[in-house]
Symmetry: C2
Subunit: 409 residues, 2 copies
């Protein structure tokens, strides 16, 4: 007996395809694999004890409310706390500027729903975050990549891209995923000015802003946009949609992130969210608020920074020692990723295949390039594996690199 | 200084509008209002103690895993438990048939993403669930309403609708929201046969199936479809996408629901979910599993049934005593809603306005009719308010009804 999936819906079923690379990455899920492929936080730094206490307090004091349906905007005390925390980083915003989402991935998807029509163009850094490409591919868009170097997006090349009439600019200014670069202050200012000049909004994705291991914090694009407009009055009304998350500061298993945007944008996103999933888990919002409310994150992030800084340093040291000289990288100032560049005639998928044989994995950089270039690049995560595993994994990866390079010569 | 929201995005911003009725319903949020408007479970029946114990066990035994990113499909033990539980109700399915979603609303949205093109037609019961209309309106679809009576959708009128070539049939067979009706066994079988004859899938929404206060459980459309196909082999491969939720059995604040569908459909929904929000909270999935795993829901649902049955009975008794004879209703066999029909020349919004003056609220039935008919209908929730509040609220509502009817004569 036939089912409709085979004929009536054949066109829709075929539209949605798993990528080759996703199939490739399934190889990295073997239990004895040292994986530098994912973008996972270290479970060692999850504040399990604090979650435990927070769950107890929430269920003792707010059980019925925390387990009931709640508002689409999100738990008001949590939104107010996020607004206050943002203000400390120069973002003068109110709770009316904030929507709680089920992870930043949902925020990316909602931005697509709100702003994108089929065939639209978007400016992205090259390379850029794979999750954003996945979210917006669903809306049938085209990408205009702008190259990045160690100081982030090369803003001098942005103006030409803006003249093509993109719907928005997607930027990850801090410790970019996957490139590891940080956008310089000068470029941030220029980016904000150009976006305003061409009337193109900026989508600022900032999951790692607090994971800085050296150097000074730089103001967000949203903060610079406020300054540039000179219109600070306690509520933000500018050109930037900013997003951040508790996934890297507390724990990703909560699926808690937030969008900061002008109230008129937030109101539309609320209607989109209402149709998409009603609201984000009220229980998780209560728990996150209880964990974070008395300044816990400020303390906790010191542990995260110390842990990841050590791992980054171990990885860089090992690479310097063991990687062949043909492989280039920059030491990132923060975040979770190192970006490797191989000689231009090499394909990182060859290295990937050799590395997987040796039980170490990474992500070939081509997936972060919407136009399929970047075949000679690799993303390597340093946050998840212990220093010992990093030593062993880089050793194996160095061997794989040497072997593949030797075969190419 | 202008922002792009006012010009470049004006067309998109205007596309997304809050409905008149949603603005109206904001009136019901006053603190001294007796609200029969929402569809909330009674917080009295939330198993707070069991959640407390489950959170403790999860954080003691699985803290790091429960707080980490997890698979898009959902927590495997939870999916296996749901499959086993479905099997007890005649649905022979495996974990490969199951996707965990962030509430049923997300499942409705994903069905739209997977199956709908702009301009498509969908068969719905009239009246039907508002959340489904909200989810699918976003995809620019048209509705073909099929009338319902006390035995649910009038399946004899379905065939004509199917000849119009709809993309799917959306059905709530048990204690329908808003109509309260239950689809008879005979009609269920006929519906499954017709859907197969015309090659049109069925979206079966079953949030209230276990909330039956009298009569015998009836098999789901998915179970009947399996039987009809005679193809039971432990994994379901038929014509139905079934959805249910823990919102009414445990607590809605978790945002935990599930889809049961053929594996080929589940695989596509997984890709959609990956782009939409990566996965549903791993912590909540661990907690729900811990609460439910030793048969707790079977016990707990007895309390829910007893609580809601009493509320339904109090409400019906009070209506019989106090509502004017012009108002008609059926006593539902389960669920959370009573459906009132006023004389055809009346507008329930007039009653709503009068009722709100008297501090009691309900939902005018017109919102559940995609074509704007049903102006003389009202949805009244009986699960949320205590019996005392139900007595007081029905008294006030009876007065409002009498006054408005008297003015009409």
């Amino acid at each position: 007996m036939q089912t409709p999936w085979e004929y009536r819906y054949a066109h829709r079923m075929q539209n949605i395809k798993s990528s080759t690379i996703r199939e490739l990455l399934k190889l990295t899920e073997q239990p004895d694999m040292i994986s530098f492929a994912g973008g996972l936080p270290a479970p060692d730094v999850f504040p399990v004890k604090e979650f435990h206490e927070a769950c107890n307090r929430v269920l003792e004091n707010f059980g019925p409310q925390a387990l009931q349906y709640s508002t689409t905007e999100g738990h008001k005390p949590l939104r107010e706390m996020i607004a206050q925390s943002a203000a400390r980083y120069g973002m003068e915003v109110s709770a009316d500027n904030i929507l709680i989402t089920s992870g930043s991935q949902q925020a990316l998807d909602f931005v697509g729903r709100l702003l994108l029509d089929h065939g639209d163009h978007i400016v992205v850094e090259s390379p850029t975050y794979l999750g954003a490409l996945q979210a917006w591919n669903a809306y049938g868009v085209q990408y205009i990549p702008v190259r990045a170097d160690e100081n982030g997006m090369i803003v001098d090349e942005l103006e030409e891209a803006l003249r093509a009439g993109p719907k928005f600019i997607y930027a990850l200014p801090n410790f970019q995923n996957p490139g590891g670069s940080t956008l310089s202050l000068e470029r941030r200012k220029k980016l904000v000015e150009l976006a305003d000049k061409y009337g193109v909004p900026i989508i600022e994705d900032d999951p790692y802003g607090q994971l800085r291991y050296e150097g000074e914090h730089l103001p967000s694009l949203l903060a610079l946009d406020s300054e540039y407009r000179g219109s600070k009055d306690g509520t933000y009304n500018g050109n930037v949609i900013y997003m951040s998350t508790y996934s890297k500061l507390l724990a990703p298993g909560l699926r808690l992130a937030w969008v900061i945007a002008p109230p008129e944008v937030i109101r539309k996103l609320v209607l989109i969210k209402q149709a998409a999933d009603l609201h984000t888990s009220s229980f998780n919002q209560y728990v996150a608020y209880e964990v974070a409310k008395d300044g816990f994150i400020d303390e906790h992030v010191k542990l995260i920074r110390a842990t990841y800084k050590e791992r980054r340093d171990v990885m860089v040291e090992m690479m310097e020692e063991l990687f062949p000289p043909e492989v280039k990288w920059q030491k990132p100032q923060g975040g979770m990723f190192l970006w490797n560049i191989l000689p231009g005639n090499m394909d990182a998928v060859d290295v990937f295949n050799r590395a997987v044989e040796k039980k170490v994995a990474f992500v070939p950089g081509v997936v972060f390039h919407p136009r399929g270039d970047g075949k000679n690049t690799m993303r390597i995560n340093f946050s998840y594996s212990s220093p010992d595993l990093i030593r062993e994994g880089v050793t194996r990866l160095g061997e794989a690199l040497k072997e593949v390079i030797a075969e190419k010569v």
